[in-house]
Each structure stands twice: as structure tokens, then as C-alpha cells.
Assembly symmetry: C2
Homo-oligomer: 363 residues x 2
């Protein structure tokens, strides 16, 4: 997608063919900083500190992390150790496990000396696959927006999204934002309500930045405001991403998603979840069985942003001495989900419907 | 209530008998600063900038503001002008209109020269009335907590609250927090989930501060987290305040209250609203007719707190150039409200039930 006049992806291979370059997402929206990843430790650090985040991008970064590990030691033991260390970085997103399993299946049967090139080649395939998948999600999802536009009489379709499931969360296009970018290309008027998404403010910082840089109309709101806007009829559709969706159709996504799904349901607003099939956990039926990452209290107590001096800084917003907890995800039960937008098309949030679209994986 | 070893109220008359002293609530939790109000302009400024906030405290401050205006000019015209100017400060809370009407009824029939003393006397009566009312809300509401405690086997009763409806929002005791302070006095173990309450963070800054200073166990969470905690069974009851409740039982309160009410309903968690009857708007049936205050975008884009230098500062959290809107309240429809905790007892959220408790006002 566009950043001012340049086309960017969230991750790319540098000219040396080995170094991976990423946009440091902890610095946005106030600083656009590119960071080089050379070693497995760099990749682990980037995922843990959320320099890269978003389920698909975490998976791809981990895949390249395997390549980086192989350059140092391409033995069986080193491969398994790298997979285990990368897997331990973030517990909730299923794309991480998916990407690491893809790497294991490709590399394990090979001789150690073949593994470096094979790892980079496979990671590159996963990049291409991710871009195609996200583009396809956009092509399917835009039809929902087009249908709503028909009855809006030229007025913009109002779409509410939570957190960031844009190109920064993937390689390009995004998941939840892909139909929106496609609508913009197709000249369908859209306006996006961007949930701030405390505690890390990925909405106000990343989604708003992405949309602004690409030229798409949007308005930032606090997470508390979405229900009120739906009551007033100011939201035509909700589209969010997901970090893991069960085979039964329960959707695990950034904390607070469930509250917006409840409000959508209460106000008759369609609530859609956009996801690559790599996000589906075919081994789980119920969302209650998904491990929910508990993150540090500092993310809640301290808010980062631009100080009046023009530097990136932080402020402590919690009364001194108060306890804080920080669950990072919640589960939206399937009955609140109008449909899932996948690379194979749109379906209901149920095992039956998912199986129709993905018979091989479901089997 | 207690602030460390001293007993405080949110507002008091200084030794000169005319000056009103308040705790500047825009400085909490990091600075405890007392501000003197001497003129009508001071009172208007304090309400507008939210040095004082909370529906009952706004009403009392406005009442004293009338007294301050009378000291300069106690003519009929000055009385009406002061009432109009104070009424225009905040549109949503109904206590403001209630308190100003109380002042008009007391002062209008008097000779101008009698009005100064009468205004201060009436304001003082409203203070005493507010304290009695809030204490009574606590006495009724604590029975809900006591009942839950019976089946908790000595474990704390988990209460979720949104925004600040504690003693800082009233004169003493609070509305939503009054039953909690009373439970603490009665040695019922309680633990409070404190919603941060963006954009102004009255939960993280004021409720957490109040509870901490009084010695009550509590944990601050982002506004997104409450639904997830309810899904996990970690919330026994929600108690919130309100800025205006219609005769039909719809509850207008700080933006985001509606989302918590939806989650409570979805998870079978009782959702109670604590209010003095001065908060009831007997002229309205539906919450849809309540004017919702739209506040400045700066409250959303900038977060205030303690910088690493130890000073109170702010950070800009929104991508440059993005639009922002800031509706301050939302309406929770009556069917999501388990009950209303008033100074006369607990009742259902309906005209019929409210009329039983307040036959005179309802008539």
C-alpha cells in the first residue's frame, strides 16, 4: 500500500538477500523507522516487543527467523530449537504455529547444508502466499461493501474496525482492511471508524496512519464510543481481524472485539471477521480453549505518544499503587459473527460452513 | 472518605464563609491541588474544565456559583443570567438543571438583599442533602453485595465500575461507590475492577485513586477488558453511576457504559445503576431524547499523565491528520439494567417501579 508517494510492504528482503527489513511498528505513527533483522535473536526480539505484530506478519517473521537460525547452525537440533524459541514468543495467534510447521515440513527432510537456501525460499513463498491471500480476502469482502453502498445513495459506507488488521499486520493489503483498500480502488465511498484499541493503541497509531497515508477517510474514536455510534445508525458494517479462529467459528481477536460484536448484534449491524485460513485452528472447537496472552501491566499504566517537545515519550495514567491486569485478547462467540471473509470466499462462523470452503484442512 | 489519614470531601466552604474550595480533579491522581472559587466565572470555569465533575458535584458547584453571582449583583436579572450561564456549561447531566431550579425557587421570591445569605444557606442544604442521599444509596446497595458475599465463601465480591461515581463525583460517599465503601465498613471482602474510562481516564485516575486512598482492593483494566472478565466469571456485579436517567428507566452515563451493560446481560451478570433521584429526568421517557455532549477532540488525541520526569504532561496518541470525534455519554436501554439503587431503595428500571418509590416527583 502507499505511504505518501512510495509503495511499501511491512517486511522485505534487503539487497544482501539475507537481511530482513521491517518497519518498527512500536515507533509509528510518529516515527517511520526501518529496522534490520539478521539473527534469530533479532527475529525473536522483533516479535516479542511487537516491532512486528499482527497474526500473519508474526508468522512470516518467524519463518525468516528460521532461515536466520539455519545460517548459524543448520542441524536438526538447531532447527527444532529455533522453532521452539519462536513458538514461545506469542501464545495466542495460530499463524505462528502454522508458519513454523510449514518451515519444519519443508526443512526437516533436507540435508542440513540445503536448509539455508530452502528456508529463505520457503519464507519467500509464504510472503507471496500471504499477499495473494490478503488480496483475495479484499476481493471477496469488497462485495459486502458494494452491496451496502447501493443503498447509501452516494454517501460513504461507514465501517468500524478494531485494532489493526491492515497491511502492517500482514505483508500487504491486510485482512480486515483489505476489502476497504479494494473499495477505495473501486471508487466506492467509504469512511472508517477506527477504534483507538487500548492498551497499545494500534487503531489510533497504526490503522489511522495506514488509512491516512493511503488517502482513505477515517475518524478515530475511543474504544468506548462504538456502541453509541451503532445506536445512532452511524455504522453500516464492522470488519475486524482475528488471531485465531476455531473450527467451530469462535473468533479470538484483540481485547475489546467481543464488546463491539455485542453492540453490533444489539443494533442489527453486520459483524464480519476477515482471516486467511492459516488463522483457523482446526484442532479446537471452542474459543474457551484458546490460551489468552497476559501481557505486562506497563502497557496499561503507561501510554506512549508524542510529547509537546516533539519526542516520543510516555505518561503514567494510573493512580500510584493500583493493581493492573492486561489480558491481550478476547473471544467473540460464533453466534455474534455474521460471517467470515476468507481467501476462498465468505462463509458463516460454523464448522459446517468452514468445512465447505476448506474441505482438505477440515478433514 | 479518607485520603491517607485525613477525611476529605470534594468541596467545602472556606473559613471566610464565602470562598468554596475544591480538589482540582484534572490534576489527580498525580497532584493533590486545592483550588478556591470566589466568583461566578470561577464556578463556570471549574465545571467547564472539569476541575469538578460528576453529576451531583456539578449541581452543588452550580448552586454555590449562584451565591457567588448574588454577591456581585442580586437583582432578578442577575439571578436569571447566572442560572442560564451555569446551565449552559454541561448539557447532559440533569442534576445541574435540578440544582439550579432549587436555587431559583428559593431565591426568586426573596428581596434582592436577602438573596446572598439565602443562596449560601440553600447550597449548604443541598450539600447536606447530597451526603444523606449518597449514604442512603450505600445502605441500600450494600445489601446486593452482602447477598453475593454469602455465596462467595469468604472470597471477595468482584464489582466492576465504569468512570468515577465515587465521593469525588458527589460531596461524600459517591453513588456507585457508596455501596462499596459501606461494604468495606461492614467488613465484607470486596475487589473492584476499575475501567480506565477513556478518553479522560476518570477510572484509572479518580476511582483508582479514591479506592486506593481509602484502602479498598482494586485493579485497573482498559475499557476493552470488562467483557472478557465477565466471560471468565470474574465479575459478580456491575455498579455504575448515571448523569441522567429517564422516567422510563433508560440510563445515560459515561461513554462505554452501554458496552458493559451488553456484556453483563450476555453473561448473566447483574447490572445496577446507582443514582440520587435528582438525576431522574421525569420529563423524558426515552434515553434517545437526552442531548449527548460532544466534547473536544483533544481529549481523545492527547492523554494526560505523569511523564518520566515526574511532571504532569501529555502525549499525542493519534496519527497526524486523522479526524477524531468525542461523544461523552451513551444510553443504556432499560432492558439491560437489572435495577436502580436510589436513596429510597432499589427498584426496576421502569416508570412503574420508579413511580412507586417517588410518587410525588413522578406525579
Amino acid at each position: 500500500m502507499w505511504v505518501d508517494d512510495e509503495h511499501y510492504r511491512s517486511l522485505w528482503v534487503a539487497d544482501d538477500s539475507w537481511t530482513i527489513e521491517i518497519i518498527d511498528q512500536t515507533r509509528l505513527p510518529h516515527e517511520f523507522m526501518i529496522v534490520s533483522l539478521v539473527t534469530l535473536e533479532h527475529a525473536i526480539h522483533a516479535i516479542k516487543t511487537m516491532q512486528v505484530r499482527g497474526a500473519p506478519l508474526i508468522g512470516i517473521t518467524a519463518a525468516y527467523g528460521i532461515g536466520m537460525a539455519m545460517r548459524v547452525d543448520s542441524s536438526d537440533a538447531a532447527l527444532e530449537s529455533a522453532i521452539a524459541r519462536l513458538q514461545a514468543t506469542r501464545p495466542t495467534a495460530s499463524n505462528l504455529a502454522w508458519a513454523l510447521e510449514e518451515m519444519r515440513q519443508r526443512l526437516a527432510p533436507l540435508q542440513p547444508e540445503e536448509r539455508i537456501n530452502a528456508a529463505y525460499r520457503r519464507a519467500r513463498e509464504l510472503v507471496d502466499h500471504d499477499i495473494m491471500t490478503c488480496k483475495s480476502i479484499g476481493a471477496h469482502g469488497v462485495e459486502l461493501i458494494r452491496d451496502i453502498a447501493k443503498r447509501k445513495d452516494g454517501k460513504p459506507v461507514n465501517i468500524l474496525t478494531h485494532c489493526n488488521a491492515g497491511w502492517l499486520a500482514t505483508i500487504d493489503w491486510g485482512t480486515a482492511l483489505s476489502p476497504i483498500y479494494r473499495a477505495y480502488e473501486d471508487e466506492i465511498p467509504v469512511h472508517v471508524w477506527v477504534d483507538e484499541t487500548r492498551p497499545r493503541n494500534q487503531g489510533a497509531a497504526l490503522t489511522a496512519w495506514e488509512l491516512g497515508k493511503h488517502g482513505i477517510e477515517h475518524t478515530v474514536i475511543v474504544d468506548n464510543a462504538g456502541g453509541h455510534l451503532m445506536q445512532l445508525g452511524l455504522v453500516d458494517i464492522c470488519i475486524v481481524g482475528t488471531d485465531r479462529t476455531t473450527a467451530g467459528g469462535d473468533v479470538c481477536n484483540k481485547i475489546g472485539t467481543y464488546l463491539k460484536a455485542l453492540a453490533a448484534h444489539d443494533n442489527g449491524v453486520p459483524f464480519f471477521v476477515a482471516l486467511p485460513s492459516s488463522t483457523i485452528d482446526w484442532s479446537l472447537e471452542s474459543g474457551a480453549d484458546i490460551p489468552i496472552e497476559q501481557r505486562g501491566s506497563e502497557e496499561v499504566s503507561h501510554v506512549y505518544g508524542l510529547t509537546d517537545d516533539g519526542a516520543v515519550g510516555r505518561v503514567d495514567v494510573v493512580a500510584p499503587g493500583s493493581e493492573v491486569v492486561n489480558p491481550a485478547f478476547d473471544v467473540t462467540p460464533r453466534h455474534l459473527v455474521t460471517g467470515l471473509i476468507t481467501e476462498q470466499g465468505i462463509c458463516g462462523a460454523s464448522r459446517e460452513e468452514l468445512t465447505k470452503l476448506f474441505p482438505v484442512q477440515a478433514g
